[in-house]
Amino acid sequence: MGTFLARRLIFSAFVLLGVSVIVFGLLRLSGDPTALMLPIDATEEDEIVLRRALGLDEPLPVQYLTFLSRAVVGDFGTSIRHRQPALQMVAERIPATLELAALSFVVALLIALPLGIFSALYPNSFIDRLSVLMALVGQAVPTFLLGIILILVVSVQLQLLPAFGRGGIENLILPALTLGTYSAAFINRLLRSSILEVLDTDFIRTARAKGFANRYIVIRHALKNAAIPVITVMGLQVSALLSGSVVTETVFAYPGAGLLLVQALGNRDFPVVQAFVMVIAVLVIIINLVVDVIYGLVDPRVQITG
C-alpha cells in the first residue's frame, strides 16, 4: 500500500509538471500580455520597462522556470482586472463549485442506482424501457438547455425555486439537477449492463442453485462486482462534472469557480485562467488517486502493493 501510494504520488507530480507546461504555453499563445496591461497612450519606453519588470525579455525556458518556481508556492500573479492574487480569487470560489459538483454527483447516484438496479432485475420491463429513454435524452440534451427549461418551468412558471445566485440549498437544487443528469444517464446504463454481465457468471448460478431470491442475489452478490466498472469511470465522471459546472454556473449565475473562469476569459484575465486550470488539474489528480485506492479496496484482485 505504501509503495503503491508513493508511486502514484510521484506519477501525479509528473502529470502536474506536464500540466504546468500546458498552462504556461496557454499564456504564451495569448500573445503579448503587455498590450493588455499598458494604457493606450503608453510610450515605447514604458513597454520596455514593463517587459523587463515582467521578465518577458528572458528566453522562454527561463520564463517557464520563473513561472514554475512561483507556481509551486501558489503565486500565479495578480488578476489583471481585479488586482488581487489570482490563486486567492480561484480558491475563494472553489468551495461553491465543489459543493455543486458533489451534490450533482449525489443526484446522479440517487437517479442512477435505483434505476440501474431495477432495470437489471427486470430487463425489458416498463421501468427498464423508461430508463433507456431517460438515458438517451439525458445524454443528448445540452446542459444549458436543460438548465434553461428548469428555470422556465420551476422558477418562472411555478415560482418554486430561485433561478439565480447562491445561498441555501434551494439555490443548489436546480443547478445540481442540471449538472447531474448527464452523469445519471451514463451511470444508469453502465450499472445495468454490468449487473447483467455479473448475473451471467458461475458464482451467481451457484447462488441461484442454492435457492436464493433474485433480489437477494442482485443486491448481496452482483452489486458489489458490478460496482467495479462504475468506480472505474468515476474519475472520468468527476472530470465531466467539472467541465459541466462551467456551463451550469453560467446558466444559473452561480458564483463558483466556473463562472469566474468564464468572466476571466471574457476579460482576457489570464493569471486567473492559469490559476484556475492548475487548481482544477490538482483536484482531478487527487480524485483519481482516491478512486484508484477505492478501486483496490473494492476489488481484492487489484494489487495495491505496486
Binding site: 500540466v19 444549458f144 467541465s243 468564464v262
Partner: protein, 305 residues
C-alpha cells in the same frame, strides 16, 4: 455498386426461401435497419440537418442576419400573433429564427465532423504507434495522454478557444486537438492484441516493413472501433461547440450558431422562451439522432463492444 453487380450474377434459385438467403449480408443489415422505426426517424432527422448545412443559402426564406425593429420577438406558428412567413418566429433583433437554425446547422456539422477528423487522425496515429512499438514510445505517448486528461476536456477547450482568435477553423482545431485522448487509448489497446495475432507474425516473417504492417494489416482490424467511436464523438463535439458558443467563446458572435442562439434568448425567457428553446431542441434532436445511429452501428459492427 460492385455489390449490386455481383448480386445480378448470382444464379437465381427456384425456392423463394433460398433466394432470400443469397441476398448479401450488408443488404440484409440495411433492410433490418430501415424496418426499425427509431433508426429510420434518426436517419431522416440527420439527413435533414445535413441538407440544411449543405444547401443553407438556397433553403433560407430570409437573410439570417437581417434585423427588423418591426418584427421583434414574433412567436412561432403554434402560438398567437405569428407573422406569416416566419414559421419559427423571430428573435429579439427581429431576425428569422428558421433561417438562423438552417445556417446554424452548418457550424454544428462542420465542427462536429471537422473536429472528429482531427481527433481521429491524431488519436489513431498515436494509438497505432504506442501499441505497435511499445517501449519508450508507448510510455511517452501515454504519459502525454495522462497529462492532457488531467485538464477536463471542456475546460481545456474554452481556455484555448479564448486565447486564440475567434474563428470557425480555430474552434475545429481546438476541439480536435483537445479530444484525441479517447481515440489514442482505444486504438492502442486494440493494437496490443491485434499485433500478437498469427497473420501479423506471418506478414512480418514475409518481410513486411513496420509501416506496411501497421497500415495494411493492423489498421483495418481496428477500423470498426474507430468508426463506432467517431460516430458517437461527432455528437459530443456538436454539444461542445454549442457550449463554447453558448459561453460566447466559440465562432465569432455574428455567425448564427445554435448554442449562440440559445444564449441570446436567455434574457427573454419569461416573455419569449422560444428564442432559446427552438435552437436548443435543434441541438437535442441532432445529437439524439447521431447517438441512436451510433448505437445501431456499434451493435452491427461489434456486438462485443
Amino acid at each position: 455498386m460492385a455489390e449490386s453487380l455481383q448480386q445480378t450474377t448470382v444464379p437465381q434459385l427456384a425456392t423463394p426461401h433460398a433466394e432470400r438467403r443469397t441476398r448479401p449480408r450488408w443488404q440484409q443489415n440495411l433492410f433490418a435497419l430501415l424496418y426499425d422505426p427509431v433508426t429510420l426517424i434518426s436517419l431522416i432527422v440527420l439527413t435533414a440537418v445535413i441538407v440544411m448545412a449543405v444547401a443553407a443559402p438556397v433553403l433560407t426564406p430570409h437573410d439570417p442576419e437581417l434585423q427588423s425593429l418591426r418584427l421583434r420577438t414574433r412567436p412561432p406558428f403554434w402560438l398567437m400573433n405569428n407573422e406569416p412567413g416566419y414559421p419559427l418566429g423571430t428573435d429579439a433583433l427581429g431576425r428569422d429564427i428558421l433561417s438562423r437554425i438552417i445556417f446554424g446547422a452548418r457550424v454544428s456539422m462542420l465542427v462536429g465532423i471537422g473536429a472528429v477528423i482531427i481527433q481521429g487522425t491524431i488519436g489513431v496515429l498515436v494509438g497505432l504507434m504506442a501499441g505497435f512499438f511499445g517501449g519508450w514510445i508507448d510510455t511517452v505517448l501515454m504519459r502525454l495522454a495522462d497529462i492532457q486528461q488531467a485538464i477536463p476536456f471542456l475546460i481545456l477547450a474554452v481556455a484555448v478557444a479564448a486565447v486564440v482568435d475567434q474563428s470557425l477553423l480555430n474552434v475545429i482545431i481546438v476541439l480536435g486537438v483537445a479530444g484525441w485522448v479517447p481515440y489514442g487509448r482505444v486504438v492502442r489497446a486494440e493494437v496490443l492484441s491485434v499485433r500478437e495475432r498469427e497473420f501479423v507474425t506471418a506478414a512480418r516473417a514475409l518481410g513486411s516493413s513496420n509501416l506496411r504492417l501497421i497500415f495494411t494489416h493492423i489498421l483495418p482490424n481496428v477500423a470498426a472501433s474507430i468508426t463506432v467511436i467517431s460516430t458517437l464523438t461527432i455528437s459530443t463535439m456538436i454539444l461542445a461547440e454549442a457550449s463554447l458558443s453558448f459561453l460566447g467563446l466559440g465562432v465569432p458572435p455574428s455567425t448564427p450558431t445554435w448554442g449562440g442562439m440559445v444564449a441570446a434568448g436567455r434574457d427573454y425567457l419569461a416573455t419569449a422562451a422560444w428564442v432559446s428553446i427552438i435552437p436548443g431542441i435543434a441541438i437535442f434532436l441532432t445529437v439524439l439522432s447521431i447517438n441512436l445511429l451510433g448505437d445501431k452501428l456499434r451493435a452491427l459492427l461489434d456486438p462485443t463492444l
